[in-house]
Symmetry: C2
Subunit: 121 residues, 2 copies
């Protein structure tokens, strides 16, 4: 999905085919320099909602160190199933949050993934 | 960094300021439909190199489920330090791999991040 400020596209598209097992949301955000605190405050409201939903497994919010990064913040969040991920995003509380005009400053590019390789040292 | 096929830009830019502590590479790849096996074979050669280097902590390779994803594969790799990340990428073995013409089919957008929030269910 291309980067967007459309509230109705603030959720990653559902899998093209039914998918069993956990899924990973990778959501990249454009955040202007100097607006980190405003972004983190807004994002934290949404993440508090998601952490309370069934199927939430984990999240990691990353901020870019590379100076030229197009997306300065990237959230990587794991869910137990695509259905639970979809239900948490269809929830009226999230829909209200996603419709807030403050998000327009922070275009995002959410995509749902399956983890196909995991290696630890 | 914008998406690129330039071998010399196959490594995330170093942090603008010295950074202490672990870092996370988020590397997104454009992979044409039908070319997953070719991409995974090439990527696996590079990941075998990185897993053997000092400072490697973990990697997770993701494939998009969302039908419209611009970047169909995303690698999220953790390193103990920015210096060890840089050394592993400056290594002649990786430079030889990154220069191979097969990569031209798979433009990438590597960015180095710090993890600023971690939550588990």
């Amino acid at each position: 999905m291309a980067v967007t400020t459309d509230p109705s596209r603030r959720t990653a598209e559902a899998p093209a085919a039914p998918h069993a097992g956990p899924v990973t949301l990778i959501n990249s955000f454009v955040v202007p320099e100097g607006r980190d605190d405003a972004f983190i405050a807004l994002w934290s409201e949404a993440s508090a909602h998601f952490r309370a939903q069934p199927g939430f497994l984990s999240l990691r919010l990353h901020r870019a160190l590379s100076p030229g990064a197009q997306y300065r913040f990237v959230n990587v969040a794991r869910w137990a199933s695509a259905a639970q991920f979809a239900a948490a995003h269809a929830h009226p509380a999230f829909q209200r949050l996603a419709a807030r005009p403050e998000w327009r400053e922070f275009p995002s590019s959410p995509t749902l993934h399956e983890e196909i390789r995991a290696e630890d040292a």
